[in-house]
Amino acid sequence: MRSSLVRQVLFLAALALAPGVGEAVYFRHKISWQSAVLPSESVTVDQARTWGRNVIWVDARPDEEFARDHVPGAVSLNEDRWTELLPQFLAVWSPGTKVVVYCSSLSCNASREVARRLRREAQLPDVFVLEGGWEAWLKTK
C-alpha cells in the first residue's frame, strides 16, 4: 500500500516536471524583463569612488526623482527625455572619462537601458552600470 502511494506521488511529480522542463528549454532565448549586464559592464559604489574625478555619474531615474536628490555632480539622462538630455550629457563628457549610470535600485532596468544606448548609439567606451543603484549609493554615503 505504502509503496503504491510513493509510486503515485513520484508519477505525479514527474508529470508536473515535464511541462516545467519543456517551458525552460523552449523559452531559454526569450527576452527577459531585465537586460543582462556583463560583470565587466557593472561597477560597485566603492570601485567607482576609487576613480575619483575621472568619472561622470549619470542619473537614469525620472526627472522627479533626480530633482529630489542625486549623486553630487550627477547629470540627468533618462529615456523619457533622451533627445533633449543627451546633448547636455555629451557637452560634459571627455575622452578617457568613465561613465557610471544608476537608477533606483538593484531591480530597476533604466540604468541598463541608458548604458546600452550610450554604448550603442553614441559609441562611448567605459560605460558602467552601478550595482544596486541609488539605494546602494545611499547605504555607503
Binding site: R7, N54, L90, C108
Partner: protein, 219 residues
C-alpha cells in the same frame, strides 16, 4: 493503480476550480504604437469564476514609465473587469518589456505578473549619434550612418548644423541608407554643434552631436 491516481488528479482539479481565483484573458499583451503615439495602453481583462470575492492588495508597475490602474478594489463572484497598463513611450526605442505585478488575497495564487510588450517603430537609426575630435586632432571628416526603418520609406534627408564650425555632406547610398560626412573647420577651439536630421516629408526631427573635446584626463 490507475483508479487512485485518476481520483487524486480529479480531486486536485476540482479543488482548484472551486477556489477563488482570477482568470486572466491574457497575461501578455503586445502593442504596436505608431511613431506619433506618446503612450501605449494595454487592457488586461479578468474574471472571477469562483464562489468568493477576490480583493486586490496591490498593483505595482516595474518602472516609473508605466502606470497601472484597477477599476475596482474587489471582484465579486462572477464579476469581471480589467487592469489598464499605460506605458509612456517618451524617447524610448525598440522593444520594451514592462511588467505589472498584481497581488490579491487569493490563498493559492496571490501574485500574477502581467507583461506589456511594446514594439516602438524607429523611422531612422543614426549611428553613431555623436562624433568628436580631440583638441588639436587633424580635422578629418567623420561619418554618421543613417538607416531607414523597415516600415518606413525615406528618399531624402536634410541635415543642418547649428554651428558654422562644422560642415556636413549627405550621400544617399540606396536601400534606405545615407551617409553624413561631418567635418570641423579646425580643432583648436572647444566648440560643439547639434546636427538636425530631418527626413523629407516628415515632421519628426532627429539629432546628432559633433564636438571638439579637450584632451583625455590624465590620472
Amino acid at each position: 493503480m490507475k483508479t487512485p491516481i485518476i481520483a487524486f488528479a480529479l480531486s486536485i482539479i476540482i479543488s482548484l476550480s472551486a477556489r477563488a481565483e482570477l482568470k486572466w484573458e491574457q497575461t501578455t499583451i503586445e502593442l504596436h504604437p505608431t511613431p506619433a503615439d506618446k503612450q501605449a495602453v494595454g487592457h488586461f481583462k479578468y474574471q472571477n469564476p469562483g464562489k468568493t470575492p477576490v480583493r486586490f492588495k496591490s498593483v505595482h508597475a516595474s518602472c516609473g514609465c508605466t502606470t497601472a490602474q484597477t477599476q475596482k478594489d474587489e471582484v465579486p463572484p462572477g464579476g469581471s473587469g480589467e487592469i489598464t497598463a499605460t506605458f509612456n513611450i517618451g524617447d524610448r526605442t525598440g522593444t520594451q518589456v514592462k511588467t505589472v505585478t498584481v497581488e490579491t488575497d487569493e490563498p493559492t495564487n496571490p501574485k500574477t505578473v502581467l507583461t506589456l510588450r511594446t514594439i516602438i517603430p524607429q523611422q531612422l537609426e543614426i549611428s553613431p549619434n555623436f562624433v568628436f575630435w580631440k583638441q588639436g586632432d587633424k580635422p578629418d571628416p567623420k561619418t554618421i550612418t543613417v538607416k531607414v526603418g523597415k516600415e518606413f520609406t525615406v528618399k531624402h534627408i536634410k541635415v543642418t548644423s547649428s554651428s558654422p564650425d562644422f560642415q556636413t555632406k549627405v550621400e544617399e547610398k540606396g536601400n534606405g541608407e545615407f551617409k553624413i560626412d561631418v567635418e570641423p573647420k579646425e580643432t583648436n577651439n572647444l566648440v560643439a554643434s547639434t546636427l538636425t536630421i530631418q527626413p523629407e516629408d516628415s515632421q519628426k526631427i532627429f539629432y546628432a552631436t559633433a564636438r571638439i573635446t579637450n584632451s583625455p584626463v590624465v590620472q
